[in-house]
């Protein structure tokens, strides 16, 4: 029993409650308290990352012990993969909320903003920590309902329309997920992920479970905005306030979408060849189509949102390659390399896409527009924003020595070693098109001189600068994860627990 685990859910929920109550009476309580809560969670998650390693820890809610090795209570599990995603959620969450201190001043109802922000963090922490399917659903709903409200936070025409679209598609995804959970419970009579995987190994009814796998892929694919399900993402991510866009694009689609897909398909279902081919195909489609949709955009936040789809395609593609190799009984080291590339890119994407959305927010904060055609010449008046967005742009397009380069390199090497030459070629081409698209962003926003006289523009206030500088440092530091000594400590425990078919379930319910 690790007593730290429930704190990841309890602290943000209690924070949201206290902000709503005390924030009414005490001036400026909300912003500093929310930052404090998130800072505490970020420190906890880094501490857990440092101590977990190859072990995994378990928390049984209510202290319900298993009966005849069958788990009956609610389990919360923390293993190598969980702590990585927890770190992303809480560190990016802290930087976004610190950034909001200045940014959110122009909105009314700051209390509601910070309370919803804490609720969203609590929901996402719950999703990644939960050890059973139904709690994944409950926490997922907590985080997405607060994100519906946060997308509509500006309550103008665009925000409301985007939020409505997001709610209809998100609601559909929730029904599909609930339906899949019902079907799984019908057949296996259990909801614990480890227990389900044990039951699935003994009896096999392939056609039934194929249907369930498709439902799960559609449901969580809608939450993760993989390409045929992506229609809501550009609207929702571009309409939300910028710190929320950074959270949605940098964290939410990973924590409630990609994380759950990876966890369930590796640790719950037996990896099958037809599903893994389907997942790889969807990933390739997202990667290619997302970047082509991004090219023609002139609204910065829409451009960044389409790039999110494309970069998530890289993650899904790489994990899918790993699944194909495992299902065909290929070399396990190549499979591990492919999965490692995917997870590494997932971490990196949180850093650089979060930073890019914060940059977009700074530009919008100072000049009040998101249209690239109306900007220009900001490099002189906003040196910090310009420099950090330059770093993030290089990082997302895969230029060394930034983190994006290393993860894309690992993905391409894994694709070549697994003899998927076409996919490797596509990954390189998409990376080049991404570079072109971000050259356009840099040129129009920061260097191109427009006729307007922009003497009065000032750099953004300190909290916004602080978050952006720290994020750009992360873009440097995360590239260290590619080097053997550090990779073995941080990245490999996650890969081990995913690629080993019995390690996860044997840890939770014993042999």
């Amino acid at each position: 029993m690790n007593p730290l685990i429930p704190l990841f859910v309890v602290i943000p929920l209690a924070g949201a409650f206290l902000i709503m109550i005390l924030g009414r009476f005490i001036k400026d309580f909300n912003k500093y308290f929310a930052s404090l809560v998130l800072l505490l969670l970020a420190v906890f998650s880094i501490y857990c990352l440092a101590t977990t390693g190859n072990n995994a820890s378990l928390y049984k809610v209510g202290g319900w012990e298993p009966v005849n090795l069958i788990p009956i209570g609610i389990y919360m599990v923390m293993d190598g993969f969980t702590v990585l995603v927890l770190c992303i959620i809480n560190v990016v969450g802290f930087l976004s909320v610190f950034y909001s201190i200045s940014y959110i001043k122009r909105f009314t109802a700051e209390n509601l903003f910070y309370a919803l922000f804490c609720l969203m963090i609590g929901g996402m922490n719950g999703v990644v920590l939960s050890g059973d399917l139904f709690n994944i659903f409950v926490f997922l709903e907590i985080s997405v309902i607060s994100s519906y409200a946060l997308v509509a936070f500006g309550v103008e025409k665009n925000e409301l329309e985007a939020s409505f679209k997001y709610q209809v598609l998100g609601g559909l995804a929730s029904f599909l997920i609930l339906f899949a959970i019902a079907l799984i419970y019908w057949k296996t009579k259990t909801l614990n992920i480890a227990d389900i995987s044990k039951v699935l190994k003994t009896g096999s009814d392939r056609s039934f479970y194929l249907f369930v796998e498709l439902l799960i892929l559609c449901g969580f694919g809608l939450k993760a905005a993989i390409i045929p399900f992506h229609a809501w993402l550009p609207d929702a991510h571009s309409s939300a306030p910028s710190p929320i866009s950074a959270m949605l694009s940098g964290v939410l689609i990973k924590a409630v979408g990609i994380y759950v897909i990876i966890r369930l398909f590796f640790n719950m279902f037996a990896v099958s060849e037809n599903m893994s081919v389907l997942i790889t195909t969807l990933g390739t489609l997202s990667m290619v189509i997302g970047v082509f949709l991004a090219i023609g955009q002139w609204d910065i936040k829409r451009l960044l949102a389409y790039h999110s789809i494309s970069q998530m395609g890289y993650v899904v593609l790489s994990v899918g390659i790993g699944m194909i190799i495992i299902s065909r009984g290929g070399r396990p080291d190549i499979a591990a390399l492919a999965v490692a590339g995917g997870i590494f890119h997932l971490i990196n994407h949180a850093a650089f896409k979060g930073l890019l959305f914060l940059n977009a927010g700074s530009i919008e904060y100072t000049i009040g527009t998101r249209d690239l055609k109306e900007m220009g010449g900001l490099a002189k008046s906003m040196p910090v924003t310009s420099a950090t967005s330059f770093i993030a742009s290089l990082s997302i397009s895969g230029i060394p020595p930034f983190n994006g380069f290393f993860s894309k390199l690992i993905i391409i090497i894994a694709a070549i070693m697994g003899k998927f030459y076409l996919l490797a070629l596509l990954a390189v081409i998409v990376s080049i098109i991404t570079l072109a698209s971000f050259m356009k962003f840099q040129r129009y926003a920061f260097y191109n001189k427009t006729g307007n006289n922009r003497k009065e523009i000032k750099e953004v206030p300190f909290p916004m600068m602080f978050s952006m500088i720290l994020m750009s440092l992360l873009c440097f530091v995360l590239s260290l994860l590619a080097f053997p000594g550090i990779r073995d400590v941080i990245l490999m425990p996650a890969i081990d627990i995913l690629t080993d078919p019995v390690k996860y379930s044997s840890f939770i319910i014993g042999n």
Binding site: A149, K157, L160, E161, V168, G171, L172, F175, F179, A182
Partner: protein, 112 residues
């Protein structure tokens, strides 16, 4: 078997409504219909023919009980569904104030 088919039919009715209706409130109602067909299915899988409510009676230990877990799960899901519906209605009311109409064909400023 027939109850499962009816349940699926209810889901299709909701899906038809979401796809074809032009009125925001009717879309929200169709979403609720879909939602409740899923809940109904969840409750049905816990039903055992001839079972009674799962209150253990020591005097009569051989009774058949229905599975109580899906009922508890559906209650949780209904509460979540309430929150989703309330959120959607709040957004619809705000949209009506901005546009003066519920017609989805006139609410389309986001493109591409």
């Amino acid at each position: 078997m027939i109850v499962y088919l009816l349940c699926f039919l209810l889901f299709l009715v909701g899906l038809y409504g979401v796809i074809t209706r032009r009125n925001l409130v009717k879309i929200a109602i169709s979403m609720s219909v879909m939602e409740f067909s899923t809940f109904l299915f969840f409750a049905l899988i816990g039903y055992i023919d001839g079972g009674v409510a799962p209150i253990v009676d020591p005097a009569d230990p051989v009774k058949t009980y229905v599975d109580p877990l899906p009922q508890a799960l559906v209650l949780t899901a209904i509460v979540i569904g309430l929150a989703t519906t309330a959120m959607m209605m709040a957004v619809i009311i705000r949209l009506y104030r901005k546009y003066g109409t519920f017609d989805i064909r006139e609410i389309k400023s986001l493109r591409g």
